[in-house]
């Protein structure tokens, strides 16, 4: 008698595996990255390449040490994605060792020391980002102005040169590249407004700076829109749910609207907050990291909304101009609690609350 082949039901699978999911997220960052290249130069591409190489090497070595199937693990693209997200979060011309150290930390410490994919409590990219921000504040805040208002433009070769040596091929330093056409050193729009407010200016006065185009930082608006497109693509393809980005953007918008209505001189408008800084990237690409986010539908709404609130709170009253990383990490810690209290009502069961009463 022939031996029959056995398997457990279901025998069907929709054939979308982790690797595919992670790759789709990677693809969805492409519009944002291209916009970034357009406005700020090739630096971001170099960071992405460095990050991915570091991530693959780090993950590969650890897999070998842990005696796992290295190739299979690398093919899940989770390390690539974490590296990619870290790379697009740091200043494009940061020295090469910044992204290498950051990626190594993300993969080796935040992800693998916790047990590898699926077991890390914190978002690897954001934990890496915060480590870098605290350790190397100067390098991590050296953002460039968009080409349209920069005194110096730089080529791909310049970008490579700067990342590896600190100077362009023609000898300019990052500090010099940061100088705008008005002769002053440029900061990010969020930073500019924050500094101006501390110096006693109003938001409107701060936005009269050359880097602004109405409400939005020149270049930054388009980068944000490009990431928004990528994010909508992810929702459309059901890679992510609307819950986290939706609630995160909504809560950030509502809180900033409330503050704006309270005192428009002190607090920027919701649109300013949404399209400056990394709120959009954070909402669609960072906070949606499945491993470290909440797992229930209600929980994801709470998780996202709380991140949105933290972002606006820290932006307005904290020490840092932007706050996605901090907000996400804070809420990562709250996930077990959120999950426990947001269990859905099972079919045929009464609500937990009505059961108690």
């Amino acid at each position: 008698m022939t031996m029959l082949s056995l398997s457990s039901s279901p025998h069907h699978h929709n054939r979308r595996d982790i690797g595919q999911v992670m790759r789709l997220v990677c693809y969805a960052t492409i519009p944002g990255i291209l916009a970034n290249v357009w406005f700020f130069g090739f630096g971001i591409l170099i960071q992405v390449v460095l990050a991915i190489i570091t991530a693959l090497v780090t993950e590969g070595v650890i897999m070998e040490l842990r005696k796992k199937k290295t190739e299979r693990v690398l093919k899940d693209y989770s390390a690539v994605l974490a590296a990619l997200l870290l790379a697009i979060s740091i200043p494009p011309l940061a020295p090469w060792w910044v992204i290498v150290i950051g990626t190594f930390f993300s993969i080796a410490v935040v992800k693998q020391l916790y047990g590898g994919l699926g077991y890390n409590m914190f978002n690897p990219a954001m934990a890496g980002y915060v480590m870098l921000l605290i350790s190397f504040p100067v390098q991590m805040t050296s953002w460039l102005p968009p080409f349209s208002i920069a005194e110096q433009s730089h080529s791909l070769w310049d970008a490579i040169h700067t990342v590896f040596t600190g100077f362009t091929s023609t000898g300019f330093s990052v500090e010099q590249l940061k100088v705008g056409i008005d002769g002053t050193t440029m900061a990010t729009p969020l930073d500019e407004v924050k500094t101006a407010l501390l110096q006693g200016y109003t938001v409107t006065e701060a936005k009269s700076h050359i880097m602004f185009d109405g409400n939005y930082g020149k270049g930054w608006l388009w980068v944000a829109i490009a990431y928004l497109l990528g994010g909508l693509f992810l929702i459309k393809t059901k890679v992510i749910n609307w819950h986290i980005p939706g609630s995160m953007l909504a809560s950030a918008a509502l809180l900033s609207l409330f503050l704006f209505l309270l005192d428009g001189d002190q607090y920027a408008s919701p649109l300013f907050h949404l399209f400056n800084g990394s709120l959009i990237v954070g909402a669609f690409f960072i906070a949606t990291d499945p491993v470290s986010a909440s797992t229930t539908s209600k929980g994801r709404i709470i998780f996202g909304a709380a991140i949105g609130l933290w972002v606006i709170i820290i932006r307005n009253w904290g020490g840092y101009p932007d706050a996605i990383a901090f907000a996400v990490l804070i809420m990562n810690m709250a996930v077990p609690l959120i999950d426990y209290y947001t269990q859905p009502r099972t079919y045929g069961h009464k609500n937990k609350a009505s059961k108690d009463s």
Partner: protein, 595 residues
């Protein structure tokens, strides 16, 4: 919380249904098999009729080896409320009554009547009901039982139990959803035999007196919708409803939710929310039993998948080995690197362990997928907590939490997360990007929990017995001592009245009494020892039984090890759930409730 009767009627007449949470849309693949009429098979040489093909207990055997039987003759009879008889699929001789591989994931052999056909295919004398409307309900229900009918949609719940309802019934729901991909047996049955299905419904209406009949058909079966609508158009309180295609809309609980917005309470029955549901094939069988007097001896089986050169639907007699069906559908061996035959659909079906596995009352499909059609799953990866599983769970469970607790053997936690509300539809595993065989883990955990409970019950019983015995022994001892004391007192009394002359006699009597007492004490010690030994044996027995079961399960598992590394690795982690198919679970719940 739930919609009332009028609201439901209004919504249904407007075809505005409700929805159930989650669900998936796997490729339908129905057209593979539903293009041509149901075909009749030639009479087989040999049939293997398992005596138990439903949820409950088997009937009492009526035949012996060597007996001649006619087609439709009862092989067993229903003695207990939950037993359902089986019948001879053709005329011939009972060659053997023995254990034969079962139509169950484990394939564990079950008692079966093996019949060699004589080729005449002679019916037993049929005894139809001339006019069911003039027949008492109890007689009709008895006939349904005697015809061997149990739910044919998958659960195999005894139909006569379900039909014997005394609670007020609002909706009699006829399930023609057939939501599993590939399967088209109900589809073809509705297209070709809508009128007989309607007859079955009429009989049920006569017995159950519902306020409204809803015939629910998924909207991917427009032809069946049409034929059923035509068959039911004269009846004002029969409504044929087109239900949006989504898996598992055909699940009893899900369909009730879609049609009425009501939820069957946990550990409850559909009747608790005013509903009773029958599969269309069951209605057909009921009409056969009452109007024609024919017992259930055949059913429509879909032969499908790219492993068949000519996929189709056939009328297969119960007891037909799937080997014959493979021949009938032109099984193409070149499509499969290693033979794999699925009984049921791709979502909830199981792989059979033998070519001689028989068709039973709940077998609606034999699916033979080509290698690349339904590929074996890869090794599972780590759960990335993406919650795709909870997004598709129709019971609103948290499948990944259930998975963690099941895998970690934190069974109490798993139960707390309502593990037993899982209907094992497989939607979660279908979407899992880590390809974790989630349902498999749940089955294992359920089996483990059941085993634990059984063992606890056993040990509790043993404990009670032990305590009772101890108390009895103590009482006996006390009684003996009392007797001795009384006897001694009596002797003392007689001594004091007798005086000194009898001293020698007394001394002798005392010596006798002492010897007797010693012997008694010895005996007692022996009895105590024996009791202790017995107790130990009893305590040992429980784990011993478990061991036995375990070894049987490993046997079942070892088959899979050879063929698929994956399955083997999964099953090896714990005992394979030998005896519980998903439908069993649901129905087993029902069963305990009814009992």
């Amino acid at each position: 919380m739930f919609a009332n009767y009028d609201k439901i009627i209004e919504r249904i007449s407007l075809n505005q249904l409700w929805d159930f949470p989650g669900g998936v849309h796997p490729p339908q693949q129905k057209t593979l098999s539903n293009q041509s009429s149901i075909e009749y098979l030639q009479v087989e040489k040999t049939y293997y009729v398992p005596v138990k093909q439903h949820i409950g207990i088997e009937g009492k055997l009526l035949v012996c080896e060597g007996d001649k039987v006619l087609k439709g003759q009862a092989l067993t009879t229903s003695e207990a409320p939950f037993s359902v008889p089986v019948h001879a699929p053709t005329s011939g001789a009972v060659t053997k009554i023995t254990n034969h591989v079962s139509a169950h994931p484990s394939g564990i052999p079950e008692l079966s009547v093996i019949i060699d056909a004589d080729g005449q295919d002679t019916w037993i004398e049929l005894d139809p009901v001339p006019d069911y409307a003039k027949t008492s309900k109890s007689e009709l229900i008895e006939r349904i039982c005697d015809a061997g009918i149990s739910g044919m949609g998958g659960a195999g719940f005894p139909t006569h139990i379900k039909t014997n309802n005394s609670k007020p019934l609002e909706f009699l729901i006829i399930n023609g959803i057939e939501c599993e991909p590939y399967i088209s047996s109900d589809d073809r049955l509705m297209r070709e035999h809508a009128w007989q299905i309607r007859q079955g419904i009429d009989i049920l209406v006569h017995i159950l007196q519902p306020k409204q009949v809803i015939v629910a058909v998924e909207d991917n079966k427009p032809e069946a919708l049409e034929t059923m609508s035509i068959a039911c158009q004269q009846k004002i309180n029969y409504q044929v409803v087109s239900v949006p295609t989504k898996y598992p809309a055909g699940g009893e609980k899900q369909l009730i939710q879609v049609l009425t917005s009501r939820e069957v309470p946990a550990n409850g029955l559909p009747i608790d929310v005013g509903c009773i549901m029958y599969n269309v094939a069951t209605c057909y069988a009921i009409a056969d039993a009452i109007v024609e007097g024919k017992p259930l001896i055949e059913r429509v089986v879909t032969l499908t998948g790219e492993g068949f050169k000519s996929p189709k639907n056939v009328w297969a007699r119960l007891g037909t080995p799937i080997q014959s069906l493979l021949t009938y559908g032109d099984y193409d061996q070149s499509q499969q690197s290693s033979p794999r035959f699925i009984m049921g659909g791709p979502m909830m079906g199981f792989t059979v362990t033998s070519m001689l596995t028989p068709i039973v009352k709940i077998s609606n499909c034999i699916l033979v997928p080509a290698d690349n059609e339904l590929p074996h799953p890869e090794d599972e990866r780590a759960c990335i907590r993406c919650s795709a599983c909870s997004d598709v769970c129709p019971a609103s469970l948290l499948p990944q939490q259930l998975f963690w607790y099941s895998k970690a053997k934190e069974l109490e936690k798993a139960e707390e997360y309502n593990l037993f509300d899982c209907i094992e539809c497989g939607a979660c595993a279908y979407v899992c990007p880590s390809e974790i065989p989630l349902v498999h883990y749940y089955r294992q955990a359920k089996a483990d929990i059941r085993n634990q409970k059984e063992e606890k019950e056993k040990s509790d019983k043993a404990k009670i017995r032990f305590e009772a015995r101890k108390a009895r022994l103590l009482k006996e001892k006390e009684q003996r001592e009392e007797k001795h004391r009384l006897a001694a007192e009596a002797r003392k009394a007689s001594l004091s009245t007798d005086g000194g002359g009898t001293k020698d006699k007394i001394a002798a009597a005392l010596a006798r009494a002492k010897a007797k007492k010693e012997a008694l004490a010895k005996q007692e010690a022996l009895a105590e020892k024996e009791a202790l030994a017995k107790q130990e044996a009893l305590a040992k027995q429980a784990p011993h039984i478990a061991d036995l079961a375990e070894s049987e399960k490993t046997k079942a598992v070892s088959v899979s090890e050879v063929s698929t590394e994956v399955v083997a690795s999964q099953t090896a982690q714990g005992a394979s759930p030998a005896k519980d198919s998903p439908e069993d679970d649901a129905a087993a719940n029902e069963e305990t409730k009814e009992l």
